[in-house]
Symmetry: C2
Subunit: 242 residues, 2 copies
Amino acid sequence: MCHDVCMQYAPDAATPQPVPETRSLRGRSAAHVAERIRERILSGELPPGERLSERSLTEGLGVTRTPLREAFKILEAEGLLAIVPNRGAQVVELSPADVDMAMELLAGLESVAAELACARGTVQQLAEVARLHARMVACQQAGDLVGYFRVNQDIHQHIVDCADNPALSRVYRTESARVRLYRFAGNRVSARWSRAVMEHEQILTALQQRQGPLLRELLRAHHLNGWRVTRKVLENEVQPDL
Amino acid sequence: MCHDVCMQYAPDAATPQPVPETRSLRGRSAAHVAERIRERILSGELPPGERLSERSLTEGLGVTRTPLREAFKILEAEGLLAIVPNRGAQVVELSPADVDMAMELLAGLESVAAELACARGTVQQLAEVARLHARMVACQQAGDLVGYFRVNQDIHQHIVDCADNPALSRVYRTESARVRLYRFAGNRVSARWSRAVMEHEQILTALQQRQGPLLRELLRAHHLNGWRVTRKVLENEVQPDL
DNA sequence: GTGACACATATTGCATGCAATCATACGCAG
DNA sequence: CTGCGTATGATTGCATGCAATATGTGTCAC
């Protein structure tokens, strides 16, 4: 982004300070690189199974191998990369069984969050969920599948955040990211899409009425329904029609 | 441990291979170092707040700074270390509020695991929990607080493992490790100690009878009771008597 | 005595170099 | 033509060096 600028020499220039507008990145290089690679993985630009060459990434990101390799370790700890000794890093490939387990975990985390969110969520937080819900419906009506999916993920994260437990939010975010790509497939079935929105209506109502146990069951069912369809798509038993 | 042996030169010796008994660690150095540091943190040898000097650790572990710094990144991603730019790594210090949130998360994970464990746990897995329970009781009767605590942690991990969900087990293990040291304090109160064992008896019974909802509630209550005492100890409202 | 500043030292962050390992292409026997 | 061994280039893992930053210490003004 700006590394070419940073690389230029300024022998006697009128600007003595190295690069005024870009605050020094020293000490944040690995985290910054990890963030960039994470984005590329979650967007699908780096698909599961893709091998990540140190050489091309260092050139693409304008950093050297040391911070890049540190970023690899971070992403490996997050479960996004697998590092094979002497063969480098590759984007983790999850089997349907892996995703199954992850979905069970996510459903569990959400069901735990549900009761806490109903008990503790502030009015503002609940309103934010409602706002996101409206945006999601708008995306559906516009046929914007990608936008819908992103806002959908946002809603679920926000519900978890309503539980006001940073550790829970962090784990949910990390584990949700691991399977994001795989879940997208399920939304590409029109029948599921419309039904999911209906389920979301009920979820929103339960949250607003702070009916913890009900919300819990709705979320669990929502997950189960969604994953049942998604698994069939992943296993090529159903062809997506969107 | 063996790095001094590895460092010796063998100019013309009869053993051409570098070090026959120690298989090459190439490609596993960072993970190995992370494991060592993790042990030291979890044992309390490196207490919360401790600054980790690269110099002393490289000398102590017989590795250079590169794999050590990679290990730091891994441990930071696990939530055990905090890396401050230009000031290096230090063991994370958790506030009572942080531990509170973590305990809520752990209780949630266990309650999710409870029903799955009752539904899916094999007879062998349940027997292993029973075996650990017996060992724990033996530790209690021997007054072995440290052994008791370790087996206790093992039991909870095994119950979660009975759910047969690797993702759940992994998250539980990582999040449990983050707060292990802080939880130890609560066991240093004799009244809590004996009551905890009684609760474990009930937990074991519920698991063996595969009563999911009951196990769920027992685990939740067990966590709440334990944490209530531990928090008081951490906040110096109660003096440990063990 | 205390505080502030400057200098010296230690430590960290990152770049680079070297050795081990892997991947690929080639030669050759069958 | 196929299979296998080998050699060579590419890639990774780790060690080390250099620059930026922090830390400790001494000096001096007040």
